[in-house]
Amino acid sequence: MSSGDSSDDYGVRLLNPDGSACEHVDFLALLGVEGLKGCYGAMLRARHLDEAATALQRQGELVLWIPLRGQEAAQIGSVRAASPADFIFPSYREHAVAWDRGLPAVEVLRLLRGITHGGWDPAAHNLANYALVLASQTLHAVGYALGLQLDAQLGPRLDAQAGVPGGQEPAAVLVYLGDGAMSQGDANEAFVWAASFNAPVVFFCQNNQWAISTPAARQSRVPLAARAAGFGFPGVRVDGNDVVAVHSVTSSALARARVGEGPTLIEAYTYRMGPHTTSDDPTRYQPAGEVDHWRALDPIDRVERALAPVCDAAWFGEQRAEAEAAAARLRTETLALPDPPPDAFFDEVLVTETEEARAQRASFREYRESFQV
């Protein structure tokens, strides 16, 4: 184990690796059988989409792919704890979060095909665009959470105005970051702000043991969840490969946030089963046997074992077929993505294009057209 702390401490667990349920003094399983079946489908779908994307990258159809393999439970368990009104800030590996939130799978690939730096409408699914600068999004999340607080405080006055939020159901913010990102100043400033304003924000750290080639032990010699107490709010480590526990712990943190009880840091103890990105070669740095150890803890297999007694082969087959179909669709849709217009990089630099930008764009077009003849 590379996290530097007691290797047996996977955190809160409600589903054992063998698929049997277990109890925890603080957390109750909130997912019933139907909920678990839903998670299974979503995780399986994420894995197939992820594999399809990796294949597309290998075939030169994407400039890069960032695999999430191994982190399906951490992502699906947490995103399913969020209500539609909650606002989510992903980092850059949270494809399962994005997809489960309703973002069409191809939208993520549009980015990694090199067509856009983001592209989707954050308001459509209350899902921010990806943030590649590590931890930058944690401060945005706190700011958004301050906005939620302000909505409530200024509500009556704001309601009087057109088109402003207010009077809506209580909401919270869920923000994802990695074990590596925990070392950035921004993440820690976000902790300061969240505590100081008791902001309705849940920091969800996927400790997948690695930041590219850097083991989590280089970022912290104690469990990352312990960081929170030093800032004055609760931190909890959860078995990130246990979708039931992740869902339960995240639900409870979001509920706390929504009713004004402030921030929580969740450390989902999981593992990056693939390379950092398709450009990476983890065999250069990962100790032998590590992947095998974690393969035995695969988050999807675990749910499969839990569901085996209640679901028949036909149901499992259906799930697989659906996931495969989604992957095939993703492939087709990706290949059909139109290239952006050549001058698209001039778009939306500012809300209102300046005269200078207009002139620059015009001369760019003119220059380009000079070759068309």
């Binding site: 983001g118 401060l139 700011g143 939306e348 005269e355």
Partner: protein
């Protein structure tokens, strides 16, 4: 010009101006005009919130936000933790939620911890989100030297931001513009870095408050018309250049002074118009000359006015050294003599 009618702190300027028929313009210090601008913007739109170090109870170290927390409450005038990256990062999140945050960076030299959030996030989120997000964030930065301060309190970092697409940069040199440009910045859906010439905070000027501040103009202002040479200045150096122009007039030289007001985008129409008439230009700023804004202005004016220029565009600004300790700042800052010297050199060609 020198009317003594001063708005009391916390006075809503808009109705006051509205109520009087043809009111005589009040004369207020630039800092007070900024405070009035913030106040009126907050009164006009409940989505305007302020955040920064010491902006609340204290009213900011320059007292620009004085009285605002009392009037609008702690929810809208937020004393932040000591974290500049946090101030800008939180403002981005607030803007995503539909607010119009106005950040105060306490001094120019303390904007750098927020540089990443400004350059990689604030300036790009509108485009990154394909236009869905609007970063209606204003970042106020008291800038420039001449106040006998310690290190990091006298800098002019505008060139860093002018080189960064996705930002608008404004800087007033008069009380009237301080109010007007600040209202425009706050009303603007783009991120605006708003540079406040701190050594001019206490200089007074007339302030008439327009009924509705006009939308962002990006227009430079001819602060003094002239025919022989164009001095291009902004923020704190406008006054210096106006003084230089007066001095030069005594020698029979008619000096035009252009106050840029918007540093990004630059108002090329006004600049080229002036330089094609005068045939000579000098850019004056406090920032280090090397790769400063003056370089851009000189390069571009030369491109656009190549056959009109009688002399290369001169540049007067900071030497290639960190802003010096207080005892030396008079040696470092562009002053009337250095401007006149540059004017002389332009005429020696």
């Amino acid at each position: 010009m020198t009317t003594t009618r001063m708005p009391r702190p916390g006075t809503l300027l808009v109705p006051e101006a509205r109520s009087a028929a043809e009111p005589a313009p009040v004369s207020v210090p630039l800092a007070r005009a900024l405070g009035a601008g913030l106040r009126d913007a907050m009164a006009a739109d409940p989505k305007v919130v302020l955040l920064g170090e010491d902006v609340g109870r204290l009213g900011g170290v320059f007292r620009v936000t004085e009285g605002l927390q009392e009037e609008f409450g702690e929810a809208r005038v937020i004393d932040s933790p000591l974290s500049e990256s946090g101030i800008v990062g939180a403002a981005i999140g607030l803007a995503m939620r539909g607010y119009r945050p106005v950040c105060e960076i306490q001094f120019d030299g303390f904007v750098y911890p927020a540089f990443d959030q400004i350059v990689t996030q604030l300036s790009r989120l509108h485009q990154r989100s394909a236009g869905h997000l609007r970063m209606a964030v204003t970042i106020r930065i008291p800038y420039g030297g001449g106040i006998h301060a310690v290190e990091h309190h006298s800098e002019s970092p505008e060139a860093y931001f002018a080189h960064t697409p996705g930002l608008r940069l404004l800087t007033p040199s008069t009380s009237a513009d301080a109010y007007l440009l600040l209202r425009q910045a706050i009303a603007c859906d783009d991120p605006v870095i708003f540079f406040e010439p701190k050594r001019r905070y206490w200089e007074r000027g007339p302030l008439t408050v327009p009924e509705d501040p006009p939308p962002l103009m990006e227009r430079a202002r001819v602060a003094r018309p002239g025919t022989d040479i164009t001095l291009i200045a902004y923020g704190p150096t406008v006054r210096t250049c106006l003084d230089a122009a007066s001095a030069a007039a005594a020698d029979g030289r008619s000096v035009e002074v252009v106050d840029l007001r918007s540093l990004a985008p630059l108002d090329w129409a006004t600049l080229t118009g002036s330089v094609r008439r005068t045939g000579r230009a000098v850019v004056v700023h406090e920032a280090v000359v090397t790769a400063g804004l003056g370089a851009e202005i000189a390069a571009r004016l030369t491109e656009e006015c190549f056959y009109h220029l009688e002399a290369p565009v001169g540049r007067v600004g900071g030497y290639h050294a960190p802003y010096p300790p207080a005892r030396l700042e008079h040696e470092y800052l562009p002053d009337l003599d250095r401007v006149l010297d540059a004017v002389d050199r332009a005429f020696r060609y």
